[in-house]
């Protein structure tokens, strides 16, 4: 059973996106996109504005129901899950334009990332049952450690609003890490970072992949970053895959160049 599953995962990939179609009225945001990502690989997802990258994230995280297609993670059908069950399946994400809990502190935001792997309920919270209190302390310590790792320690008590955009994107990354994901999806994480910070961020992603054996799906317009850290790159245009391969292969791809120059149909 386990062996069979492992084999299946190795053969077809850890994350499998298969022929996904998403339409909004007349717009085909995704039009049969397919690709796979192996365990502990970093996959760069690129494409011009409106190519469907964010829509794909929304499909994988259960926020959009696709018109057709399949998505699986380690053989598990992701589309069969309710949107709030995706986190438990091991998927965490950040949002292109931030999806933080603005009134809560940076620390609380990161602690909320661990929501799906904690238990304390209404009664436990109200009555401060020992199990709930213990769990809360443990998660808090973990969250603080994550904040330190991301260099956010001194913002722990700061509300998650009124900080620079780049800092908030890191807070979101912290929240995603607190979920202990297997698949980490980052939507334009380098947006709002300075040149030096981008390089640092690239290092961080590689380090996280190394230490936590994360599989990463990375949407980014910053080509230097994508090409620098990705093992494979998938390029979308008009919801369709137009190129796939190693960064070097993709860089040479004529369709992609045309798409970015705006000459492709």
């Amino acid at each position: 059973m386990l062996a069979a599953m492992l084999e299946r995962v190795c053969r077809v990939g850890f994350l499998v996106v298969d022929d996904v179609v998403v339409t909004f009225g007349g717009v085909r945001a995704l039009d049969g996109a397919s690709f796979a990502v192996e365990v502990s690989q970093i996959c760069g997802l690129i494409g011009p504005n409106g190519a469907g990258k964010t829509s794909l994230f929304n499909v994988i995280s259960g926020l959009y129901r696709p018109d057709a297609g399949r998505v699986s993670l380690a053989g598990q059908d992701i589309l069969a899950l309710p949107a709030n069950g995706v986190a438990r399946a091991g998927i965490a994400r950040t949002f292109q334009n931030l999806g933080l809990f603005a009134s809560q502190s940076v620390l609380e935001n990161v602690m909320l990332g661990a929501y799906h792997r904690t238990r304390a309920g209404f009664l436990g919270g109200m009555l401060r049952l020992p199990a709930a209190t213990r769990e809360g302390r443990r998660i808090r310590d973990e969250a603080l450690a994550i904040l330190d790792l991301l260099g956010l320690g001194r913002y722990a008590d700061h509300p998650a609003q009124g900080l620079p955009f780049g800092t908030l994107k890191r807070v979101e990354l912290g929240r995603a890490l607190a979920a202990h994901p297997r698949l980490l999806m980052l939507d334009e994480p380098a947006n709002g970072l300075t040149h030096g910070e981008v390089a640092e961020f690239g290092e961080l992603i590689l380090q996280l992949r190394e230490e936590l054996r994360l599989t990463v799906l990375l949407v980014e317009h910053h080509m230097g970053l994508v090409m620098g850290v990705s093992d494979t790159v998938v390029a979308l245009n008009f919801g369709r895959k137009i190129a796939e391969g190693t960064p070097d292969e993709v860089r040479q791809n004529d369709d992609l160049i045309a798409a970015y120059l705006g000459t492709a149909a």
Binding site: F24, G25, T54, S55, N58, L63, Y64
Partner: protein, 294 residues
């Protein structure tokens, strides 16, 4: 059968009042994207105003017309002074502000005219026809005609005029509407002004049936809400159909479910129905489905 028809007809003639107030709400919703909790109270104060003018010697129709004109100004002023400053706040603030307006209007009405019930002169002469045993009063027919005319005019306004199309643009995207040269502020003021006019009619036509007192429109408000929810907040046709449906349901419930619901609870039947519908078709029966947007 005659009894049934009579109940339906009576239901329609109460329903048109809900429809009329509902139309005022649709106007405000189309103009500013707000559900106005104060709509009923604004109608009440207008009715009092018309009643006062009539008392001072103005013929009732003239009093209503004058109130409608003044109401237009008052509505526009409210938009400018109270609503504009909160226009880009969240839903909660907007709802609470109109609730505040509700309380203030109600209080002012009570302050000026007191809480004794007043008789409002019927704008229609007393007359009735009997068709196949079903009696139909001139007041009912007149009110129905007025509602249909107002509904039709609003429909034309929304779909045929620059103003109405501008409203639509301003609601769905105020920024780009502003950029494309639409004077959003002026449009919203006009929207509130027109709504106050329609509300004046609603108040004046409801008052003879309900007796004039500061809380007279509370029930009507709840029903008008229900009407626009069934009909779709942005649809004048929906408000009319919704209002009529609610009036008829209420009346039929009172007639046929009396043993079970009694006189007090017949009101609950249409409300229950409305929320049933809302659960199945949240955008209402005639409303456009808003496209979810990421």
């Amino acid at each position: 059968m005659t009894y049934f028809l009579q109940q339906v007809v009576d239901g329609v003639s109460t329903g048109v009042i809900y429809a009329l107030l509902g139309l005022a709400m649709v106007l405000i919703f189309r103009a500013t994207g707000i559900i106005n909790f104060a709509q009923g109270e604004l109608a009440t104060i207008a009715a009092f105003f018309a009643w006062q003018l009539n008392l001072w010697g103005l013929p009732i129709w003239l009093a209503i017309a004058a109130t409608a004109v003044i109401g237009f100004g008052a509505g526009a002023a409210i938009e400018r002074v109270v609503i504009r400053p909160v226009a880009n706040k969240d839903h909660f603030t907007l709802i609470m502000v109109t609730l505040g307006l509700f309380m203030i209007t109600n209080a002012v009405t009570g302050l000026v005219w007191g809480y004794t019930i007043q008789a409002f002169p019927d704008p229609f002469p007393v007359a009735a026809w009997t068709v196949h045993g079903v009696s139909l009063s001139l007041a009912s027919v007149g009110t129905i005609v007025i509602v249909c005319v107002v509904g039709f005019l609003l429909y034309q306004l929304f779909h045929r005029t620059r103003l109405g199309l501008g409203m639509r643009a301003a609601i769905s995207n105020p920024e780009s509407a502003r950029l494309s040269g639409i004077d959003v502020g002026r449009m919203q003021m006009i929207g509130w002004g027109l709504a106050a006019m329609v509300g004046t009619l609603a108040g004046a036509l409801a008052a003879p049936k309900l007796f004039l007192e500061p809380n007279m429109m509370l029930g009507v408000l709840t029903y008008a809400f229900a009407a626009v929810i069934v009909g779709g907040l942005d649809s004048p046709l929906g408000a009319v159909v919704g209002g009529l449906a609610i009036g008829v349901t209420e009346n039929l419930a009172g007639a046929y479910l009396y043993d079970f619901v009694g006189n007090d609870l017949k009101i609950a039947v249409p409300l229950a129905l409305v929320f049933g519908i809302l659960l199945v078709r949240p955008q209402g029966l005639f409303g456009r489905r808003a496209v979810a947007r990421a």
